[in-house]
Symmetry: C2
Subunit: 143 residues, 2 copies
DNA sequence: TCCAAAACAGAATCAAGTTCTATTTCTGTA
DNA sequence: TACAGAAATAGAACTTGATTCTGTTTTGGA
């Protein structure tokens, strides 16, 4: 049988199955918005991994395409679980921080046009989209 | 007459004309790539403004739309002069760091389509495009 | 020239993130 | 199950980009 536990995923890429890794994946999975290392730390029951362990493993997760990180407006790194390793983007609610994963990338065509226009060869891009989620829009209307 | 000096610009928005502001604008203008505060600091002749002064004024410049900043891959803030206050993006050469300002924004249409699809109301977005500038592409070919 | 507000200098401080080494945990092998 | 080597963690110390704070200087208008 093949129910995908974190243990399976870790094995599949040759990473040892440690308590820290399992609990980190669980915390990321449980959040509907990107977390700072401090926020992750606060959600862990004692005894909990130290910050270096958290950083180190999140980095590994990102390498495997299991998570992404970005730097928020306060210059703090935030981490989020991704459900696919395909190139994609996210939209972040500016009020409640809820984050939604978007399907695919709408920029592919525009970028190849850009290459012709500006002479650069595009190698990669990062896009952060901010907005108000349906719930927060409704809340604003009611006020 | 109306040649646009930094003095004129500062007056126009009610900012006092100080040595620090003039020299900071000059350094930003002279660079073809985004600078860290340390890089700016190193380019200033003594006596030079302290780091808090540099940060404070760059922040003002950004508020006025005269500059932009982003956080680079080492989590360090980089600043660049903008030639327009209109919404636009930049492309950064991954080899030589040269940065080119792009005309307008290719995402407007895609974003309004996204709003319908995901239910969020989009409020703003940030896009960083990385690539190889024409010069660096040529250099790679020759090798 | 004089004054009040704005801006600056520079030291001290903060905190996110990293480094380092000793210890523990994991997993393949016998 | 016991063992050994490799991988991973703990936790303190450190680094450094950025901010705060207070006393001094500069600016621009009256
Ligand atoms: Mn994702
Ligand atoms: Mn620009
Ligand atoms: Zn994309
Ligand atoms: Zn745009």
């Amino acid at each position: 049988m093949s129910c995908h536990t974190s243990k399976d995923s870790l094995h599949a890429v040759g990473m040892k199955v440690t308590k820290a890794r399992e609990v980190l994946l669980r915390v990321l999975e449980a959040s509907d918005h990107p977390l700072t290392v401090d926020e992750i730390y606060d959600r862990l029951a004692q005894p909990r991994p130290g910050r270096p362990t958290i950083y180190r493993n999140l980095e590994r997760f990102i390498q495997e395409g299991w998570a992404e990180s970005f730097v928020d407006k306060n210059q703090i790194q935030r981490f989020l679980r991704c459900s696919t390793t395909e190139h994609h983007h996210h939209i972040h609610c500016e009020k409640c921080q809820r984050t939604t994963e978007l399907d695919g990338c709408a920029m592919t065509k525009a970028l190849s046009q850009l290459e012709r226009q500006c002479g650069y060869k595009v190698t990669r891009h990062q896009l952060q989209i901010y907005g108000l989620c349906p719930g927060c829009q409704k809340a604003l209307t009611l006020k």
